[in-house]
């Protein structure tokens, strides 16, 4: 019952917004502002007849590759840096500089090294996503209790066990926060990277529609992007609830 009510609460506003859009756009004859009805009728023919595999799948693959790369680098480097105070002092100014560079401006430069293929797009996504993950991992490693470190030493936990059972789990609340920020950055960057030198992908297709004045199709692509974002956020929440069940419980208790 509570579950049904929470779903109802979460869907009220979206339903109202869609209804508002539907009715205000119903009689629209503005070329750039087609009725929502027209946009939705375009969805099946635009996306479900080949483009799901040809454009959506490549985008999702690039997104997951770039995001995973950022997770691997951000977590491992962040935890290592978080454990060492001198390393932290050396790295912090550099990180502040690098993280304030907007990744899109790097696209032309990365193209010079990584070419115009998938690796360029993956590098752009990873570069943008790595900072929130890395900086939060540093914070996470720092936040682990001294007594837990002592406990791990006393009971002879080796490096592998210490990484898995102490560092990774202890820093996980922070890491998850960074990973959530990185996920929305990843969606933005996958679209942007596909606007440069691409031949497929969601970003590429949306820009193609726009340039060929296929306006309802363009709008349908934007809706699809939004839907993908919502689904990814839901999946993220599911994973988070599993990984951080202990943390939420502990916080409720305090």
């Amino acid at each position: 019952m509570r579950f049904i009510r929470s779903i109802a609460t979460a869907t009220v506003l979206p339903v109202l917004l869609v209804a508002a859009w539907w009715f205000t756009s119903l009689g629209s004859d503005d070329f750039f502002w087609p009725p929502l009805r027209d946009i939705l009728t375009e969805v099946p023919s635009t996306w479900f007849e080949g483009r799901l595999g040809a454009d959506v799948a490549p985008s999702l693959l690039r997104l997951s590759a770039g995001y995973s790369l950022a997770l691997a680098i951000g977590i491992s480097a962040g935890l290592a840096i978080g454990l060492s105070a001198p390393l932290r002092q050396y790295c912090e100014p550099v990180f502040e500089f690098l993280r304030s560079i907007p990744p899109p401006v790097l696209v032309p430069i990365i193209m010079l090294f990584a070419g115009i293929g998938d690796s360029m797009k993956i590098v752009v996504i990873a570069f943008g996503c790595v900072w929130p993950i890395l900086l939060n991992s540093v914070e996470g490693a720092r936040s682990i209790d001294e007594v837990l470190h002592d406990t791990a030493r006393v009971y002879g936990l080796g490096p592998a066990a210490r990484f898995r059972h102490l560092l990774l789990r202890g820093a996980s609340p922070h890491i998850v926060t960074g990973a959530r920020q990185a996920l929305s950055i990843a969606i933005i960057l996958v679209v942007i990277s596909e606007m440069f030198a691409a031949s497929n992908g969601l970003g590429f297709t949306i820009v193609q529609f726009q340039r060929s004045f296929a306006i309802p199709q363009m709008w349908s692509g934007i809706l699809l992007l939004g839907a993908i974002g919502v689904i990814l956020a839901l999946v993220f929440k599911l994973v988070e609830n599993r990984v951080l069940a202990w943390y939420f419980g502990l916080r409720r208790k305090q």
Partner: protein, 291 residues
Amino acid sequence: MTLPPVLTVDHVKKVYVTGDRSVEAVRDLHFEVATGELVCVVGPSGAGKTTLLRCIAGLMDVTSGEVRLEGSAISGPPRGMAVVFQEYGRSLFPWMTVRRNVELPLKEKKVPRERRAALVDEALATVGLDHVHDAYPWQLSGGMQQRVAIARAVAYEPQILLMDEPFAAVDAQTRADLEDLIRRLWSRLGVTVLFVTHDIDEAVYLGERVLVLSNSPTVVLEDVPIDLPADRDQLATRALPRFAELRAHVYGLVQQAKRGVRAVPADSGAAASHSTAHTTPHSAHRERKSL
């Protein structure tokens, strides 16, 4: 005492150096703990009890002297030692269930699965927690959390169990229960225990010997044998005249320690039999014991 010592603290000295300032925390600690003994260490606050325990546990390097476990000098935490920390809430892994907390050190010790399960079951049953295997530590009360930490230490099958003011943060009733639990563990499992506390009553009630520490820089002021019956009871033992005597004696020593006394003449005091107290020429104020 014919058994060889499990633990030898051999003229340990600890000086903290920060920049160009140095603070002498421990001057010269020297004592032994024999197999199967239950030794309490008591001292005024600021006596360097935590420093001493961290040195023995191998969590901190000593400046000079050495700590030996079964004859071999330690550098870093040795395998045969388990520690129960004061901060029970911070020494258990909050992301692991009670069972996994107790089991993890055994996994690292490469104890085979079946033996591991048996050890965990037994340890949790011994501390009276066989019903909460799958709970998380933070779901339990403070006393129960400290029981989990004790179970983890016991399951590890250490040659010596170090306890750093383990009951300082629990309420008085829980504390009495946990004290009796330690006595039971000690007599049933024959585990050697070094128990650090600031509570004089607790030290006398629990220990077979009480080491009284001086103020910092620390030396052993006196090594007091506790000749109370082995079967201790919160009411009966504490009501014994001998308990009151020993308590008064240790209390007197701690008071002297607070005033800065670092040496007690070996011939004084009814209880001092094998005192390892040192005469330090540097001690500014030296007093005669007045017991």
